[in-house]
Amino acid sequence: MEKPIIELRGLTKCYGALKAVDDLNLTIRKGEIFGLLGPNGAGKTTTILMMLGLTEPTAGTAMVCGYNATTNPIAVKKKVGYMPDSVGFYDSMTALENLAYIGRLNGIPESEIKDRAFEMMKIIGLADAVDKKTSAFSRGMKQRLGLADVLIKQPDVIILDEPTLGIDPSGVKEFLALIHQLSRQHGLTVLLSSHHLHQVQQVCDRVGIFVGGKMLVEGSVDKLSRNLFTNENYVVSITLREAPPARWEAEDALRQLGNVQQITVTDRVVEISCLRDITPDLVRFFVHKGLDVMGVHKKEYGLDDIYEKYFENNLAENNTHEKPGRTFQRSFFKK
C-alpha cells in the first residue's frame, strides 16, 4: 500500500490541565479529501497547527509528506498550503502584490511570479480584482484569495481551516466544487476542518468526527451511518392524498406483510418502520388498496444524524464523568 501522506501518531497537546488534543491517530492517503468535523473548541485548529509545526505537541508525532512536522517544519511548510480560519491580507497591498509576496517567500523565481499570480487569480475567479487593494475585499473574496494564496506554491497537501466560514450558500457550493475539482485534477490531498456537516458531506471522501480532543470515529459517510445505525430499522414514510380514517383496518393487513414493526399515522403521512427494505411491497400494497400515494420517502441517515448521535453520546459521558475542563457549565448554573 502507498505510504500515507499525513500520519499522526499519538498526538497530544495539553494547555495546562486542559487536553486540547488527546492521543490522536490519523492517516490520510494521497489524493484524499478528508473532513475534520467537530464543534468549536474541539481541537481542530490545534491539530492543524501541530501538523505544520507551528505548535509543539506535548506527545506523539505528526508526519507530513514524510517529514516530521515538529523537527523539520520548513520542509513540511514547503509542501503544505495552509489557509487559516480567519485569513488576513496586507491591506495596503493589492491582491496581486499579496500573492506575489507569498510566492517570493516560497522561492518562486522572480520572472514567473507575476504570471503565476495572475493565473491563480483566474482560477479562483477574481481576475478583475487583481489590482484592487485587499482592504476593499469582501469576506468571500478574501476566502477565495486565501485559496489562491495556498495554491500559488503548488502544494502537495492543502489544509483548510473552516474554509466556508462567512461565505454565502451559493458561494460555499462553488468553493467546495472548486476544491473538489482541484483535488481530482492534480491529485491534491485536502484536509478541511469544519463544523458545517452538510458542506463536508458534499465533498469529503472520508470524515473524522472530532470532539473534545478525541477522534470519535472516522471513515466514509456511508460506512459511518452503517456502523452507527445497524440497530435502526428502515423507515419509509408514505404521503397520501387524503388522511386515512382514525381507526384504520388496513393497519392489520399491513402488519401481515411481515418485517413491519411499527406504524404511525400522523395526518396524511404514514410512517412504517420495518426490519428489511420492503418499500416496493408497501407501495404496491397502498396502490392495491386504492389509496392515492403522493410521495414515498425512505429515510436515510446523513452526517447530521451521525454527528448528533456521536455528540450526544459524548455529552452524556461528560456529564457522568464531570471533566474538570468543563466546570464552567456548573459554575454558571450555580449563580
Binding site: L54, K77, S86, Y101, R104, I108, Q154, L178
Partner: protein
C-alpha cells in the same frame, strides 16, 4: 456571481512547466531579503513614516537655519576652545530660540523608534496575516529580525543623508574644509543616534509582542518615554535629597561620592546616556561627565580633546545604550519564539 468551477475548467495548475521551487533551488534572494524588502516598502509607503520624516526634516532644517545665522559669532568667540570646529558648531550652535539638533533628537529619536515599532507583531496578528506568514517556509525569527533590521535601515538612511546634507550645505555656504576629526565625530554622533533610536525600536517591538492591542503598546511605549525623560530625573532628585545628610556636615570627598552616585542612577536612563555622549562628541572641549575638583582642573589649558579621548569618555555610555538595545531585542526574540502563534 460567476461560476468558479466553470471558470477554472481548462485552467490547470501545473500545465506550464514552471520550475517548482525545491529545497536546493531557491530564488536568488532568500525569504529573509524578501521580507526586509517588503517591510521597507511598507514603511516608506505609510503615512506614519511620511509624517515622521517631515517632523525630523523640519527640526533639522530649523536647527540648521539658526546655527547658520549664528555661526559667525560662534566661530569668532575667542573664549571658546571649540570655535575652530565649524561643522560641529553647525550642529550645536543656537541662539536660544530652538535647542540644538542633538538635543532635539534626544526627544524625537524615541518618537521615531516607537512609531516604527509599536505595531510590528500585534498588527500582523490582528489582521490575521501572522498565521498565514508563518505557514510559509520561513523561520519564525526571520520575521522579527526583518522587522527590526528594516526599521534600522530606514533610520540609518535618514540620519546619514541628513548628516551628508549638513556637511554639503556647510561646504557650499562657508567654503571651509572639513577636518578628518570632524567627520569622525559627526559619524560617531550619527551612529550613536541610530543606536539610541534602535533602543526605543526594540523596546516598542517588545511591547508589541507583549500586548495584543496596538493602542496599548503605543501608549505604554509613550508612557515609558515620558516617564524616563520627564519624571525620572524628578523622582531621583526627590529620593536622593531625602536620603542624603545635610551637605554642610559632609567632607568634600563624601559630597563627590554622593554626586557620583546620583550621576550613576541618572544614567540608567537612556536619554541621559545619549545626551552625555553626544555632548562629549560634538563639543571636543568637554573633559569629563562628572564633577571635577579644583585640583584636577589646576593648570589645565581649556583646549579640545582629540577624538580618541572623547571616545574614551563616552565608551560607557555607548556600551550602555548598545546593551539596553540588545537586551530588549533579545527579550522580544525570546518571547516571540516561545509564544503560541494563534492566540
Amino acid at each position: 456571481m460567476k461560476n468558479l468551477a466553470v471558470l477554472s475548467k481548462g485552467l490547470s495548475l501545473k500545465n506550464k512547466d514552471y520550475n517548482i521551487a525545491s529545497g536546493n533551488h531557491v530564488s536568488p534572494s532568500g525569504p529573509f531579503r524578501v521580507m526586509i524588502g517588503k517591510e521597507i516598502a511598507d514603511h516608506i509607503r505609510s503615512w506614519r513614516f511620511i509624517v515622521l520624516l517631515l517632523l525630523i526634516g523640519l527640526t533639522f532644517f530649523g536647527a540648521m537655519h539658526i546655527s547658520l545665522s549664528n555661526i559667525k559669532t560662534a566661530v569668532s568667540n575667542i573664549q571658546d576652545p571649540d570655535r575652530l570646529f565649524l561643522y560641529l558648531k553647525l550642529l550645536t550652535t543656537t541662539d536660544g530660540t530652538l535647542p540644538p539638533f542633538h538635543v532635539l533628537l534626544s526627544f524625537l529619536g524615541p518618537l521615531l523608534g516607537i512609531s516604527l515599532g509599536f505595531d510590528t507583531i500585534n498588527s500582523e496578528q490582528n489582521a490575521g496575516t501572522l498565521t498565514r506568514l508563518m505557514a510559509q517556509p520561513v523561520y519564525r525569527d526571520n520575521l522579527i529580525l526583518s522587522k527590526f533590521v528594516s526599521a534600522m535601515i530606514i533610520v540609518s538612511c535618514l540620519f546619514v543623508s541628513l548628516a551628508l546634507l549638513m556637511i554639503g550645505a556647510g561646504l557650499l555656504i562657508t567654503g571651509v574644509d572639513i577636518a578628518p576629526q570632524e567627520v569622525l565625530r559627526i559619524f560617531s554622533f550619527i551612529f550613536l543616534s541610530i543606536v539610541y533610536v534602535g533602543f526605543w525600536l526594540s523596546l516598542s517591538i517588545l511591547l508589541s509582542i507583549r500586548f495584543k492591542q496596538t493602542a496599548t503598546s503605543a501608549l505604554t511605549a509613550i508612557g515609558l518615554w515620558l516617564f524616563l525623560t520627564v519624571f525620572y530625573k524628578l523622582l531621583v532628585n526627590l529620593v536622593i535629597k531625602a536620603m542624603i545628610p545635610d551637605p554642610a556636615f559632609l567632607s568634600q570627598e563624601q559630597v563627590f561620592a554622593y554626586n557620583g552616585l546620583m550621576g550613576s542612577i541618572l544614567r540608567l536612563e537612556p536619554s541621559q546616556l545619549y545626551t552625555d555622549a553626544t555632548t562629549t562628541l560634538l563639543m571636543p572641549s568637554v573633559r569629563s561627565l562628572g564633577p571635577l575638583t579644583v585640583e584636577q582642573m589646576a593648570l589645565a589649558i581649556p583646549s579640545p580633546l582629540p577624538f580618541k579621548e572623547s571616545l574614551m569618555i563616552i565608551w560607557p555610555q555607548l556600551s550602555g545604550l548598545l546593551a539596553a538595545t540588545v537586551f530588549c531585542f533579545a527579550l522580544s526574540y525570546y518571547l516571540f519564539m516561545r509564544r503560541e502563534i494563534r492566540c
